[in-house]
C-alpha cells in the first residue's frame, strides 16, 4: 500500500481543486498587474504630476519597482526580526517557571495588538525619528504577538500523553522540545508567521507616513492631491502583494505539515 510518489502518479492524483488552488491565484494576480501596467501606467503623460511620481513609458517605471522593493524589504526585515524574537519568546512562556506568566505576557501583547498601527508608528516616530528603522521597529513590534501566541499555543496543544511518554522514556527537556514539541507545533507556529507577514504587508503601507518609503508613498501622496491614478497603483499593488505573500506562505505551509495522528 505504499504511495507511489513519482511525478506522473502525483499528477494523476491531482484534483480539480488542487489545480485551481495552484493556478487561479497567480494567474489572477498576473492579470491584475498587467491591467495596472496597461491601464494605469502606460497611459501616463510625460511631464505630468503622475509621471513625476511613478515614471512613464519614456523614462521607465523605476519609482514603482523601487517602491515594491522597499515594501518587500520592510516586510522581510521586520518579519525575520520578529521570528527571531517571537519564537524563542513563545517557547519560553511554555517552559516551567514561566508558564504562570504566559497569560500575563500574552495579555499585555494582546493590548499592544489592539492599538492601531498608525498610532504605534506615531509614537515611535516621536522616539526614534522618521525613516526606515522606525518603521521596521513598529512593524516588528506588530508582528510579535501572532508569532508568540501561535508558538505558545502550538506547543501547549501537543498531546500531553506524547510528552508523558517521551519523559517516561528518558528524554531530557531539551530533547523533548527539539524533537517532539517543536516539530509537532510547527504548523500552528507557521500559521502565526503567515498571519504576521500578511498583516505586515498592509501595515507597511503606513510606513510612508514616516518616510520609510514603500508602496504607501503613492497612496498618501495621491489622497491630498486627489490623484486617483496614484492611489490606485499603490493600493492595488499592496493588495496584490498581500495576496501573493499569503498564497506563497500557504504553499510553503502545505509542504511543511508533518504527518499527524488523527487519534
Amino acid at each position: 500500500m505504499k504511495e507511489d510518489n513519482s511525478f506522473w502518479q502525483r499528477l494523476k492524483r491531482l484534483t480539480v481543486s488542487d489545480v485551481l488552488n495552484w493556478i487561479v491565484i497567480p494567474i489572477l494576480m498576473i492579470i491584475v498587474v498587467i491591467l495596472v501596467y496597461n491601464q494605469l501606467l502606460l497611459t501616463i503623460e510625460p511631464g505630468s504630476m503622475e509621471a513625476n511620481m511613478l515614471g512613464s513609458y519614456e523614462i521607465g517605471f523605476k519609482r514603482v519597482t523601487d517602491a515594491v522593493a522597499e515594501h518587500t524589504r520592510l516586510i522581510l526585515v521586520s518579519t525575520m526580526l520578529a521570528i527571531a524574537v517571537a519564537v524563542p519568546a513563545g517557547i519560553l512562556i511554555t517552559r516551567q517557571g514561566f508558564r504562570d506568566f504566559s497569560g500575563l505576557i500574552l495579555g499585555v501583547a494582546n493590548i499592544g495588538q489592539s492599538v492601531p498601527s498608525i498610532a504605534i508608528l506615531a509614537v515611535f516616530m516621536g522616539i526614534f525619528g522618521i525613516g526606515f528603522k522606525t518603521a521596521i521597529f513598529a512593524l516588528w513590534l506588530y508582528a510579535l504577538l501572532p508569532i508568540v501566541r501561535n508558538t505558545a499555543t502550538g506547543i501547549e496543544e501537543v498531546d500531553p500523553n506524547i510528552i508523558e511518554a517521551a519523559t517516561g522514556m528518558g528524554m531530557t527537556n531539551r530533547q523533548i522540545l527539539l524533537q517532539i514539541e517543536l516539530p509537532l507545533s510547527f504548523p500552528v507556529m507557521f500559521a502565526g508567521i503567515r498571519t504576521a507577514a500578511v498583516i505586515n504587508v498592509g501595515t507597511a503601507a503606513l510606513g510612508a507616513f514616516i518616510g520609510a518609503g514603500g508602496l504607501g508613498t503613492f497612496i498618501i501622496t495621491g489622497i491630498p492631491l486627489m490623484r486617483d491614478r496614484l492611489i490606485l497603483v499603490g493600493a492595488i499593488l499592496i493588495a496584490v502583494m498581500a495576496i501573493l505573500v499569503d498564497w506563497i506562505l500557504e504553499k510553503v505551509q502545505d509542504r511543511l505539515i508533518v504527518p499527524t495522528a488523527t487519534a
Binding site: K2, D159, N161, I162, I163, E164, A165, A166, T167, G168, M169, G170, M171, T172, Q175, I180, P183, L184, V258, P259, T260, A261, T262, A263
Partner: protein, 380 residues
C-alpha cells in the same frame, strides 16, 4: 526485582497521602498488578519507580544490569527512565515519526547505531505478529490495536529488565484486548521481564498477574498475594467486595484445562470392530465414547446403544462431535462451552484436532475445591 520500602507520597498542599507506607516486592520475571478503585494511588505508586513522581518518604529499589539493587531516588532520573520500559494507555506514539523511529526512541537515546536499531525494531515487530513493512509507516496509518502493540514494542526496545505498564490495554475494545492480553502473556513467557502493571479491572488483574497488589483509597495496601490466594482468601471486606461476589467463578480463570483434564481417557479407534468396542464401553461403564483415527485425530463419537448387536467397524456409526476445547483454554471458558452444548464431557484437542484428553464438569468442580484446600494448607 522491584522493591517498595515504606513508600509514602503526599502531594504538596494535600493533608492525606496518595500512597501510604507501601511495602511489597515484585520478584524478577513476574508481573505484579497494582489494582484498586480510582484515587487509590496505583498510578502514583507506579510513576514513583521511574521518578515521574518522587516519593515523599521511603525507598524504591530496582535491580540493575549489574545485579545490584539500587535506590531509584539516588539515581539520575534520565538514566533511570532509559533503563525502564514505559507503556501507557494512551500510547503516546510520536505522530511525526515512523514506527521504526518510534520503536527506536530509547535505543537512539542510548546511542545505538542505526543498523542495530533497525534490527531490533524488525525483531520486535515480528514478535508482535506484525509485518516488517509497518516500520516505514506513520502511527496514524495503524489501527488502535496495532498502535498499542507498537507501544509495547517501543517499551521493550532497549530490552529493559523492568517495565511499567499503565493500563496498557484499557483503551482497546474487549475482543482485541483479550487478544493483546494473551499475546502479551505468551511473550512474557519468553522475555521474563519484571513488570509493574496498573489496572482498575480486577478481571484483567487476575488474568495477567503473578502477584496482585490491591490498594484502597488513600493508597492503603489491602492485600498483596497471588491471584489464587486473593480469590480464595480475601484479606478483608474491602478485598472481598472488590474482587466481587463471583470470586469462586473468577478462580476458574486461573487454571487451564490441561491441568485438570483426564489425559488418559477411554478412546475408541476408528478401525476397531463394533463388538470389541461395546465390550470396552461396558467395561469402562460409559454410554458413549470418542473415536480417534490415525495420529490421535478426533473423528467423532459413538453411542453404546447404537452399537449394541451390530457388526462392522466403529467408524460406520460415527456422530460428529459438537464441540471441542483447545489446549490452553481457561476452565471458565471451558465450562461455559460445556454448558452451551450440554455435554457431560468434551475432548481437549490441539490446533490440529489431535485429542489430548477429556474434561467434564466434575473435574472442574473438583479443581475448584482442591485449589481452595491447597491455599488453606499453604496459609497454615
Amino acid at each position: 526485582m522491584i522493591k517498595f520500602e515504606n513508600v509514602t507520597k503526599i502531594y504538596p498542599g494535600m493533608s492525606s497521602p496518595a500512597v501510604d507506607n507501601l511495602s511489597f516486592t515484585v520478584p524478577s520475571g513476574e508481573i505484579c498488578i497494582l489494582v484498586g478503585p480510582s484515587g487509590c494511588g496505583k498510578t502514583t505508586a507506579m510513576k514513583m519507580v521511574n521518578r515521574l513522581i518522587d516519593a515523599t518518604e521511603g525507598a524504591i529499589f530496582v535491580l540493575d544490569e549489574q545485579g545490584d539493587m539500587s535506590n531509584v531516588l539516588e539515581m539520575d532520573p534520565i538514566q533511570l527512565r532509559r533503563s525502564i520500559g514505559y507503556i501507557i494507555q494512551q500510547i503516546g506514539l510520536f505522530p511525526h515519526r515512523t514506527i521504526l523511529e518510534n520503536i527506536g526512541t530509547v535505543p537512539q537515546l542510548l546511542d545505538w547505531d542505526e543498523a542495530r536499531i533497525r534490527n531490533r525494531a524488525k525483531e520486535l515487530v515480528s514478535m508482535m505478529n506484525m509485518p516488517i513493512d509497518f516500520l516505514e509507516r506513520y502511527p496514524h496509518e495503524l489501527s488502535g490495536g496495532q498502535r498499542q502493540r507498537i507501544g509495547v514494542a517501543r517499551g521493550m526496545a532497549a530490552d529493559p529488565l523492568v517495565m511499567l505498564m499503565d493500563e496498557p490495554f484499557g483503551a482497546i475494545d474487549p475482543i482485541n484486548r483479550n487478544i493483546l492480553q494473551n499475546e502479551f502473556l505468551r511473550l512474557q513467557q519468553e522475555i521474563k521481564k519484571t513488570i509493574l502493571f496498573v489496572t482498575h479491572d480486577i478481571d484483567e488483574a487476575i488474568k495477567m498477574g503473578d502477584k496482585i497488589c490491591i490498594l484502597n483509597t488513600g493508597g492503603l495496601l489491602e492485600q498483596f498475594d497471588s491471584p489464587a490466594n486473593i480469590l480464595a482468601h480475601p484479606a478483608n471486606k474491602f478485598v472481598e467486595n472488590f474482587v466481587g461476589a463471583d470470586r469462586a467463578l473468577k478462580r476458574l480463570n486461573l487454571a487451564r484445562v490441561e491441568e485438570v483434564m483426564n489425559s488418559n481417557p477411554p478412546l475408541l479407534q476408528a478401525t476397531q470392530d463394533v463388538e470389541q468396542a461395546v465390550g470396552f464401553m461396558v467395561e469402562q461403564e460409559i454410554r458413549f465414547a470418542y473415536v480417534v483415527g490415525a495420529d490421535n485425530m478426533l473423528k467423532g463419537y459413538v453411542r453404546r446403544r447404537d452399537l449394541k448387536g451390530k457388526t462392522g467397524w466403529v467408524d460406520e456409526f460415527l456422530e460428529p462431535a459438537a464441540t471441542t476445547i483447545l489446549l490452553g483454554t481457561s476452565l471458565k471458558d471451558a465450562l461455559s462451552e460445556m454448558l452451551v452444548v450440554d455435554y457431560a464431557n468434551v475432548c481437549v484437542v490441539d490446533g490440529q484436532n489431535r485429542v489430548y484428553g477429556l474434561i467434564d464438569t466434575n473435574m472442574i468442580h473438583k479443581a475448584v475445591i482442591q485449589s481452595t484446600a491447597a491455599s488453606e494448607v499453604e496459609e497454615e
